[in-house]
Amino acid sequence: MQGNTKKMGVMTDVHRRFLQLLMTHGVLEECDIKRLQKHCYKVHDCNATIEKLEDFINNINSVLESLYIEIKKGVTEDDGRPIYALVNLATTSISKMASDFAENELDLFRKALELIIDSDTGFASSTNILNLVDQLKGKKMRKKEAEHVLQKFVQNKWLIEKEGEFTLHGRAILEMDQYIRETYPDAVKVCNICRGLLIQGQSCETCGIRMHLPCVAKYFQASSEPHCPHCNDYWPHEVPEVFNPEKERETGLSRSNKRSSRSRQH
């Protein structure tokens, strides 16, 4: 069907099963994705050597390219875990959510998104979001209902909740990057190091530049006295640790048990 000059990868049932499973989950962490890949190989073709994950994914992406879909890799903003999601590049809206939620629920998300982006910390309080319930389009929603809808967003990995406040899940950041940049061009924040969209992070108190927590971790990992990359002033915040998947496996900690000790630092 192609007949194009660019070499396209070969899709086998291993890749297709992987794609279907990833699609079901929406977003997966790197360790889970590796296990998923192994599982798909096992089901179809026990003896083949498991292709390196990056090549495996690039292979699939080359086939999906003409459909404007791709498996995108990102990093969680709070602790630098690599995550993967199947992302639709052909639209700059949030239409992937549109099929799972009603009009008023989508509008609630939109309001929450706006508050999150406008906020300084990247978090919007539950109270502030719920106060906007009267302004929603579509069927009237009560605050109690809205609380449940917010929990639905958390369950479906569009929002993260921490101590009564909400921020965007890594999945939402991956999927809606373009949309956010185009819809909120003056409110959107960008990381000084990776230039990626920034919702949560640390900022320099002197010049105001911002950095993702994992970017801070990597940038300052070797320095005993961190200085702002832009104005060279002393960097006042605690430098987090670089995410280490090996260490994670050893301690066998489940994510839900680990309490994030990092406070938001703005």
């Binding site: 279907q20 499973l21 599982h39 404007y68 639209t91 549109a98 099929s99």
Partner: protein, 340 residues
């Protein structure tokens, strides 16, 4: 003094409106509205945009997204709606022919997204919906667009588009991959849990139709599924078993009478009785153990008895429906003969 909240919001709204006007937009309804909620289609009023500059081109892609988008304001050129607003250049070296093929390419892309959404939601796919939300004025090219989209689905996702009702033009997406092994996807909307469900139903069945919670975990632990550890397919297994599957009525979870400290047991829920059967579960278990149901004689007997009962119940139900139908048709016949 930083800009107040209200003024920021007003400026944002104005910007959105302005963008909508200059592009002569057709609000994209395809993927979102396909779910049957037209007004909640997309967030804001942006069209389906296919990126221009950043993406390497293949013949399928709108390879000169730049060449397709001509002068501003021409609402009649549909490709404008799906090309990125950043596409600047004005001249199209290939003329109208390339525009049409670009448009058709875009329609194929949009249709694939539409089909994917329907597939994930297990919703029926009607030709009428496809025409209304995706194909629109290119009805004449429907068959071509559909064929290309279904080829893509088959190649990339291993999913077949089949026409299940030729009279009503209803289609369905059928998975070509055998899902019994990963139990992560299925016809059932809560599939990620089906494999674990079958195993749990099996344990309950083998324990005389009521199993203590400890017995369930003993078996699951052997598969690498633990109550206190996140699982890459099942997520939080304890929650899946004691909450999700109970809510869905597949399982019943109750405290063992007079147990102190409280212990719990599992039974089949009403939906498990309706949708699964002892024979189905036994077959699944046999497969897992690489053997046949008859290798478990006492359970096989019980499963057979269960099958007989179900067959009897089905026959009775059919007879009842048939009786009703004949009464109805006699009533209709008599009224129509009276009318004559």
């Amino acid at each position: 003094m930083p800009r107040g909240q209200k003024s920021k919001l007003r400026a944002r709204e104005k910007r959105r409106q302005a963008r909508a006007e200059t592009q002569g937009l057709e609000v994209a309804k395809s993927t979102g509205a396909a779910a049957g909620k037209p007004s909640s289609s997309v967030f804001g009023d942006r069209p389906e945009n296919l990126p221009a500059a950043g993406t390497p081109s293949t013949p399928e892609a709108p390879e000169g997204a730049t060449s397709g988008a001509t002068a501003a304001g021409s609402g009649t050129n549909p490709s404008k709606n799906i090309n990125s607003p950043k596409a600047g250049s004005a001249s199209s070296p290939k003329g109208t022919e390339s525009s049409l093929s670009e448009i058709l390419n875009n329609k194929v892309v949009l249709l694939v997204q539409f089909l994917l959404q329907k597939y994930q939601k297990k919703e029926p796919i009607r030709k009428a919906d496809m025409l209304k939300f995706v194909i629109k004025q290119y009805k004449n090219h429907f068959n071509e667009i559909l064929k290309r989209a279904s080829d893509h689905m088959e190649l990339a996702f291993g999913v077949d588009l089949k026409e299940v009702d030729p009279t009503r033009h209803c289609y369905a997406l059928v998975n070509k991959l055998d899902l019994t092994y990963d139990s992560a996807l299925n016809e059932d909307e809560h599939m990620p849990k089906t494999g674990i469900l079958m195993i749990v139903l099996g344990v309950i069945f083998m324990r005389g139709n009521c199993a203590p919670e400890e017995a369930i975990w003993e078996v699951l632990n052997m598969m690498g599924v633990y109550a206190d550890r996140k699982h890459f397919i099942y997520g939080d297994p304890k929650k899946v078993l004691t909450e999700d599957l109970v809510q869905l009525k597949y399982l019943e979870y109750r405290q063992v009478a007079n147990s102190e400290p409280p212990r719990y047991e599992f039974l089949w829920g009403p939906r498990a009785h309706a949708e699964a059967s002892k024979m189905k579960v036994l077959k699944f278990l046999a497969k897992v153990h690489d053997t046949v149901p008859t290798a478990f004689p006492s359970w096989y007997e019980e499963a057979l008895r269960d099958e007989e009962e179900r067959a009897r119940a089905r026959a009775a139900a059919r007879a009842h429906t048939a009786a009703l139908a004949s009464v109805r048709s006699r009533a209709i016949a008599s009224t129509s003969s009276q009318a004559n």
